[in-house]
């Protein structure tokens, strides 16, 4: 081949490659600076302190104020260990025995009030979370996340080490959650509830209860060129119909995440076809809680019968038009990382496709417990007075009729729900459980460990808890996954807290809003908004 032929061939190759690149790649827009994102807030949060609350009504408006040590990559839809990126830490390393997690911290970062960020802030934050130190949270709902952390030590201003009682590879995932921001040492817990100070891309301006929350761009943000937005306005619109009409009219740029139901999605697409909507799993499960200490539910046969009687497909069909998922305690794949695959799931009692066969078996169990068509078991099905709780409870009552159980709906006001559950003042309850991090440690210890505050049914299996610890220490993800499946199957077989379905919910935004990523295996971790920009 002559030199000119070679040059010609090379030129053609480059041209083809360029053409292919141009054709295959999605159009790339240059991000624009400026503009204020208007995102409606569904309710008035209890406070502005993320660490003290357990609802993403707090994460959505206040996560943009903060940074974590590490964070789930904000433009990756699925949270995995591989998508964890440095935030206030520049790097991290495990000790050889996996009992020390050392973070190198970013230098030159300042809090929104101008004070420097140092390792002391990291120690302060996690000391508070572990219940140590003088500055205390009014509420500390995720204290159990750090049960395995003996202490946090610092080495100079730029290094912090988490010393663990035993290896726990999942700790890094817990630290990457939207629930784990670093707080400033010089602010009291009370101040953080009303006027939070962070190092994040947006600064807090005001929080008017029942009216609005306003954030403004942090011009001194440590990440060059971010955020793109000048600010975020979150008008608090409690009435969902009003909020959706505001979105359809274009007065709202983005709906509150996961607030769009199947029915609303149809409305929005009908009236605002230009809207971009994502309907994704939320890692929130609807489940049955049974007062297993009180007769007749101390009889495992009755609990098993109820688990067998549930026709999950009907729930999903009626409430979600088919757009929800069957699963165990852990979110099922493909959105979930750790949930049982379909073939495994179908081996769990009550998950098989033959509902009639399941219910025949359920009737035998309940007959063995002394009930029949003539001697029906009367129960109260308690749930919160919120449609997402109430609607499935009604379907549950209908399904239980097939196995001689007559349920009466007991609607409980939100203010009294958890105290009622904590007092064990219920027979059967219908409950929702949101998993902040898609990881077995978060789910198992929080919801099923003996004595855990959020273990509403008091399920306690010491042997299984040893399995919790073993999977928690396992560093090979593939092996850990198999262990997690076995535990999840055991939890379902034991009717610990039978999962009815994992919901999927929608989020919509106007076409001018760019850079939004909806996470598919958590509703708590994707609200930093530093990559969001307005094409206007």
């Amino acid at each position: 081949m002559s030199g000119s032929q070679a040059r010609t061939r090379a030129a053609i190759s480059i041209a083809v490659a360029l053409a292919a690149t141009a054709g295959l790649a999605s159009p790339v827009l240059a991000q624009k600076q400026g503009g204020t994102l208007k995102l409606y807030q569904r309710d008035s949060p209890a406070s502005a302190s993320i660490h003290e609350e357990a609802t993403y009504s707090n994460n959505v408006p206040f996560m943009p104020i903060f940074n974590n040590l590490v964070v789930f990559k904000q433009d990756a839809p699925q949270n995995t260990v591989e998508t964890i990126v440095p935030d206030l830490a520049t790097s991290w390393a495990w000790s050889d025995d996996k009992t020390k997690l050392v973070f190198k911290l970013r230098e030159g970062v300042t809090w929104h009030d101008g004070k420097p960020f140092t390792s002391a802030d990291v120690k302060c934050t996690f000391d508070m979370l572990m219940g140590k130190g003088t500055n205390k949270f009014r509420k500390n709902p995720r204290k159990s996340w750090y049960d395995n952390v003996s202490d946090v030590t610092v080495n100079g201003d730029t290094e912090a080490t988490f010393n663990l009682k035993r290896p726990q590879p999942a700790l890094i995932s817990l630290l990457a959650s939207g629930y784990t921001p670093v707080y400033p040492c010089h602010m009291s817990a009370a101040d953080m509830r009303t006027k939070p100070v962070g190092t994040g891309p947006f600064k807090f301006v005001e929080f008017k209860a029942n009216e609005s929350i306003k954030l403004v761009r942090n011009p001194n943000y440590w990440k060059p060129g971010r955020p793109y937005l000048d600010g975020i306005d979150l008008p608090i619109i409690a009435n969902r119909s009003t909020a959706m009409l505001g979105f359809i009219a274009g007065q709202i740029d983005m709906t509150f995440p996961t607030e769009v139901t199947v029915a609303l999605l149809k409305d929005i697409k009908g009236q605002a076809p230009q809207a971009i909507c994502k309907f994704e799993p939320s890692n929130v499960s609807t489940n049955l809680i049974v007062n297993r200490d009180a007769p007749p539910f101390d009889n495992i046969n009755i609990r098993r019968a109820m688990a067998l009687a549930m026709d999950r497909k009907s729930f999903i069909s009626i409430l979600f038009e088919g757009q929800a998922d069957e699963g165990g305690a852990l979110l099922p794949p493909p959105a979930g990382i750790w949930g049982m695959p379909k073939d495994q799931l179908e081996t769990v009692a009550g998950y098989g496709p033959d509902v009639k066969k399941n219910r025949d078996e359920a009737r035998k169990l309940i007959e063995a417990a002394g009930y029949s068509a003539d001697k029906r078991l009367k129960v109260k099905v308690s749930t919160r007075n919120i449609p997402t709780y109430r609607d499935p409870a009604v379907i549950l009552i209908d399904q239980l009729k097939d196995i001689y159980i007559d349920g009466e709906l007991d609607v409980v006001e939100t203010a009294n729900w958890f105290s009622k559950v904590a007092r064990k003042d219920y027979m059967i309850g219908l409950n929702l459980t949101g998993n902040a991090v898609d990881d077995p440690d978060q789910s198992f210890y929080e919801n099923f460990a003996c004595g855990s505050e959020r273990n509403y049914t008091n399920y306690c299996n010491k042997e299984l808890e040893k399995e919790f610890d073993l999977q928690s220490q396992e560093t090979d993800p593939a092996k850990r996954k198999v262990m997690a499946w076995a535990i999840d199957k055991k939890l379902q077989d034991d009717v610990a807290r039978p999962v009815i379905y994992h919901s999927r919910l929608g989020t919509c935004w106007q076409p001018k809003v760019k850079g939004v990523t909806v996470m598919v295996n958590s509703s708590y971790n994707g609200y930093r908004y530093e990559d969001v920009w307005l094409d206007q």
């Binding site: 008035s44 949060p45 209890a46 406070s47 003290e52 609350e53 357990a54 609802t55 009504s57 707090n58 009014r138 509420k139 500390n140 709902p141 009370a190 509830r193 009303t194 929080f207 008017k208 209860a209 029942n210 009216e211 609005s212 008008p235 619109i237 409690a238 009435n239 119909s241 009003t242 009409l245 505001g246 359809i248 009219a249 274009g250 007065q251 009236q271 006001e413 939100t414 203010a415 009294n416 729900w417 958890f418 105290s419 904590a422 505050e453 959020r454």
Partner: protein, 315 residues
Amino acid sequence: MLSYLVQRLFLMLVTLFGISLVIFALLRIVPGNIVDVLFDAAGFVDPAEKIKIEKDLGLDQPIVVQYATWIGGLLRGDLGFSYVSEKPALAEILPRIPITARLAGLALLFAVSLGVPLGVVSAVKQNTRLDYFLRVVSLAGLSLPAFWLGLLILMASVALFGTIPIYNAAPKSMWDSFVMYAVPAAAVGLRSSALIMRLTRSSMLEVLRQDYIRTARSKGASERSINYSHALKNAILPIVTIIGVEAAFLIGGLIVTETVFNIPGVARFLVEAIRWRDYPIVQNLVMFIAVVVVVVNFVVDLLYAALDPRIKLGA
């Protein structure tokens, strides 16, 4: 007259004292308190932390002490702190009062300016097509639930104009304020106007049958003069009463309208505060509404004497 005023003032204070007892007792009877709701957001109840927070908020004190603390503070102008926002209750309540006052004022203006003239017309044109039409309109106004009408207005706005009249930010001028509140005021004022219209009609019909009206007519007075100067003036007392009742209702009863139009007023705030068991907010807000109701009633009583010379206050 002076003794009447003193007597009324005394009665007003007794009424307010009674209301303070009732609201205080009712709030404590309702199951759950702020700490339960705070823990609801955290997804669990920690008994030790619950006791500590109750102590911090003074909820562990005997009921009598809690009541005395509240009333003592109220008399000194210290309304306490909101349990939820941890800000002074006064700072939370004060900014919302003008919002609701504007909405209620505009709604009342709408109701009176529509209800009274149409009521008169309906009475004067009794059993005509116009009367039937107005009666149907007034009946519809009474029958349409406010939330339904509000949502219907919002949906129609989106469909017709591509925008909705909901509260976005504090209005900057009188005109902005008028534009923002006009639609919700009309939505809520329709019911009041229907009520006033029906009452005006029946009251007018009764007066129009009186001998003095026939006498005025026989003396050659114009229909306009008869209807407005003679009949309406004598028919106005029950109308003033209902306007007073509606004015008092509008201050605290706008919950649906404030929710649908997303207006951060007193009523919506009160309902949220009740949900949170935010006692300082609920107690003080209810007392504020009670004061408005009592004062409006007092003003209505004074108006009776001004409108009808036959009524002697204190006689």
